[in-house]
């Protein structure tokens, strides 16, 4: 493991810088949008652009990596991301921001895929789980730190955008300066959506619905915080807690998911989050501490649903289908994530900031209902019960990490 870290640290350093920039942008844009008097719902559309781009990126980048190589793809996209970060400050209007946000999404997907496949290639079966865990943690932690940066300067000025851009520009340096050879790359074959939905209705449904909540939390969370009249520092803190709590809860939830029936566990967790969301809605925003305390477990569970859904899907698939399924699941997740900020900001616009959490409660209630209806229709007699993959943070990884873990699991089982 130490040896492995010695060889991949430039990758981690570069990625950490990029993720910090991403976290900063995620909080900065809604704040600036608010100051510019953009419509709340328009801001929501802008924020969803990121997930649309993320999806597009996940589809086109693998081919690009195969053609020009890992390090170059990383550098090119980090550079584009740097340019689009600073262009937000030049063209302050909804259509430009939407385009820039989509571009950013494509870039981040590229950075994640490069990093994941690279780490995968460098790690052995013994170290793979640990290194990918570390990877998700580094991502979440840096994104959290990044969102704290929003409080150190004025969103109306040019400086925070410069910071976001420069972080990307520096982020590509360590990887390029390390002269280690990049791995070769093979893309995975996808499984069609219909086939997957028929085979694994629980996993497909859960990942789509929970991703709506995830997209809303990450994309529109700062919009809520801003509308609820939180100060700059509080908005930054709120988002930092969202990211960091997901890391704290990642490991215990990952262990728990293996000890219960999948459907029942997903249903219970959704129910807990629905209740937490209602409590959050009832909390007046000037009790920030209560808000912070409640949002921590909520976002922990919210992020973890991705892994739960993945595990539920794997349970009903043949071993050789799992890798391709990971990519299809990711498409479902991205669709949900893109919807999240759009829908939730419509709700905020219509009924005020507190309705943001009521929207989230509703989404989780829907998921509870969905799980319940499935389990009453079919008792899963054929479950294979597989170990759930560990990293469980959707916005902080690409479908490739999913596939990698699945491949890993396949290898472990075959041995």
């Amino acid at each position: 493991m130490r040896q492995l870290l010695a060889s991949v640290w430039p990758l981690f350093v570069g990625l950490a810088l990029c993720s910090a920039s991403l976290g900063l942008e995620g909080s900065l844009l809604p704040l600036r949008a608010f100051d510019e008097h953009f419509d709340t719902s328009d801001t929501g559309i802008v924020m969803s652009g990121y997930f649309i781009g993320f999806l597009v990126g996940a589809l086109i980048v693998p081919e690009l990596i195969r053609r020009v190589g890992h390090a170059k793809v990383f550098a090119a996209f980090a550079s584009i991301a740097a340019a689009s970060a600073i262009l937000h400050a030049s063209f302050v209007n909804i259509p430009s921001w939407l385009v820039l946000r989509i571009v950013t999404g494509v870039c981040i997907a590229a950075l994640y895929i490069v990093t994941e496949t690279w780490l995968n290639d460098r790690s052995s079966n013994d170290t793979r789980g640990k290194i990918l865990n570390l990877y998700v943690m580094v991502n979440g932690f840096s994104a959290g730190i990044g969102s704290l940066f929003v409080s150190i300067s004025n969103p109306l000025s040019y400086d925070p955008f410069v910071l976001a851009s420069v972080l990307f520009s520096i982020g590509l340096v360590p990887l390029l300066l390390s002269s280690r050879p990049a791995p070769t790359y093979q893309a995975a074959r996808r499984i069609g959506f219909r086939r997957l939905a028929r085979k694994a209705p629980l996993g497909v449904g859960a990942i789509t619905i929970s991703s709506i909540a995830f997209g809303a939390l990450v994309g529109a969370g700062p919009i809520y915080a801003d509308k609820a009249q939180l100060t700059l520092t509080e908005v930054g803190t709120f988002m930092a807690i969202v990211y960091m709590a997901s890391l704290v809860f990642m490991v215990p939830l990952g262990h728990m998911v293996d000890r219960f029936d999948r459907g029942r566990f997903i249903g219970t967790m959704s129910l807990i989050n629905a209740v937490l969301a209602v409590l959050l809605a009832l909390t007046p925003p000037d009790y920030e501490i209560v808000l912070y305390i409640l949002i921590a477990p909520f976002s922990g569970i919210c992020f973890a649903h991705y892994g739960f859904s993945l595990a539920a899907t794997n349970d009903v698939l043949k071993t050789e289908e799992m890798v391709g399924a990971g990519a299809t699941l990711f498409v479902c997740a991205s669709t949900g994530m893109a919807l999240g900020p759009i829908l939730s900001t419509e709700v905020i616009e219509e009924w005020g900031p507190a309705s943001f959490f009521l929207f989230l409660a509703l989404v989780y209630a829907l998921l509870v209902l969905y799980v319940w209806s499935l389990s009453s229709r079919q008792r899963e007699a054929t479950t294979l019960r597989r170990r759930a993959p560990v990293p469980v943070a959707p916005g902080l990884q690409s479908p490739r990490a999913t596939s990698i873990l699945l491949e890993d699991e396949i290898l472990t089982r075959e041995r």
Partner: protein, 416 residues
């Protein structure tokens, strides 16, 4: 040639974006420094910082290329430069600007060296001249266009810095996305400074002096233009004329240069420059068109001195010494370029804007005097003289283009 172009266009394109950004940044910083109330001489120092970094970059880049390869070096330095370009507007003070300017100079030296050595590797003996000529033309055109970009929006806002940064970032993409492999690389061994000075005093001296003139023209030109109350469009026009005129005159001057004895030709060119510069100094800036016309001819002749000094050096060297000499020669030029803007802005500050042209007249007068002193006693027979190898008009390139031009010539002369 068509085949070479097909393989190298991403490099030309990427470099053009980066160079355009450099052209923009040069004028923008001068204008902005004026608006921020910086001292003229401080501004000159900041502008000279570019050449300090340039010299450092030229000395260090070859090792970096040998370690991590062409494309990656290009991406790293271009990305760093795009970050640095943004920081000017965040930290508006002389020390930070000086540091940033040095850093950007470093990055651009690396960009030029990567491009030159890459192009060199991709071209054969038959195409090398054309490829490098095109390279110089693209550089001048991009600098010219970059200078014009100064008028697309108000220099008071951050937008032009953003434009400069984004242009460099875009430059990275074609270079990285091209699937052509980076060439293998060996850095040339430099000849000692003293040794070269002893062997080719004419070439070395002229190179240093023309560095002083070119550095001032390029880096302090916008300061002069700003001080003499030209509008933003006027400044942009003034700077872009410098580059575009050099582009237009490059080929005819190159042909002309080969028809006369080297030293005498240098004396003639510098003599014309002295006269032109004095007339420019006497021209009131309100007669803009006259100023532009004179500047066009002056700058074409001024920038052509690089190629002339190079050729004068070659005349005195054996073929196997030329490559190592090119890199050393560049150091003399860079030292002159660092001094140029500093001295020129001191003079602008001490007297008034037209002193800029009197400084240029003075430097060219020195060249005339120096060349007269070192004029070879015996005329070289024309077949002994190396052809003035491409590219004849440089001012914006790394030391390696020099070395490459020379090595191409070496091959021409020694046979394949």
């Amino acid at each position: 040639m068509k085949q070479v172009l097909r393989a190298t266009w991403p490099l030309y394109l990427g470099m053009a974006f980066a160079v355009a950004s450099n052209g923009l940044l040069g004028s923008l910083l001068a204008v902005r420094a004026f608006d921020e109330g910086f001292d003229t001489s401080d501004t000159g120092l900041v502008m000279a910082g570019f050449f300090m970094g340039y010299l450092l970059g030229a000395l260090m880049t070859p090792k970096l290329i040998a370690r991590i390869g062409h494309a990656k070096v290009f991406a790293v330095v271009a990305s760093a430069a795009s970050g640095f370009a943004l920081l000017f507007d965040s930290f508006v003070n002389v020390p930070v600007w000086l540091l940033l300017r040095i850093a950007i100079g470093f990055c651009f030296a690396a960009i030029f060296i990567v491009t030159e050595t890459w192009l060199n590797d991709r071209s054969s003996n038959e195409t090398r001249g054309q490829v490098l000529n095109l390279y110089v033309m693209v550089t001048y055109a991009a600098m010219g266009i970059g200078s014009i970009l100064l008028c697309v929006t108000d220099p008071e806002t951050s937008n032009l810095f953003i434009l400069a940064s984004v242009l460099i970032s875009f430059g990275i993409i074609p270079v990285l996305m091209s699937t052509a492999p980076s060439p293998a690389y060996e850095s040339p061994r430099r000849m000692g400074l003293i040794k070269l000075l002893g062997k080719a005093p004419l070439g070395v001296g002229v190179m240093f002096l023309t560095g002083m003139a070119q550095g001032a023209l390029i880096a302090a030109g916008p300061i002069y233009a700003d001080k003499s109350e030209l509008t933003t469009i006027g400044i942009a026009a003034f700077m872009s004329i410098i580059y575009l005129a050099s582009l237009v005159f490059m080929v005819p001057l190159g042909h002309l240069a080969d028809r006369f004895e080297r030293g005498r030709f240098i004396i003639a060119m510098s003599g014309i420059c002295v006269v032109l510069a004095v007339v420019q100094g006497l021209t009131p800036p309100s007669l803009e068109v006259v100023l532009y016309g004179l500047t066009a001819i002056f700058s074409a002749l001024c920038l052509a001195h690089y190629g002339l000094a190079l050729a004068a050096t070659n005349d005195a060297l054996a073929p196997d010494e030329m490559v190592g000499a090119g890199a050393t020669l560049f150091i003399f030029c860079a030292l002159g370029m660092i001094l140029g803007p500093i001295v020129a802005t001191e003079m602008i500050e001490a007297w008034r804007p037209p002193a800029f042209f009197y400084y240029l007249a003075g430097v060219h007068a020195l060249i005339v005097a120096y060349a007269l002193a070192f004029l070879p006693r015996r005329r070289l027979r024309s077949q002994d003289r190396p052809r003035l190898s491409p590219p004849p008009a440089f001012g914006l390139q790394g030391p390696l283009a020099t070395a490459i031009a020379l090595s191409g010539e070496v091959r021409d002369r020694t046979g394949p």
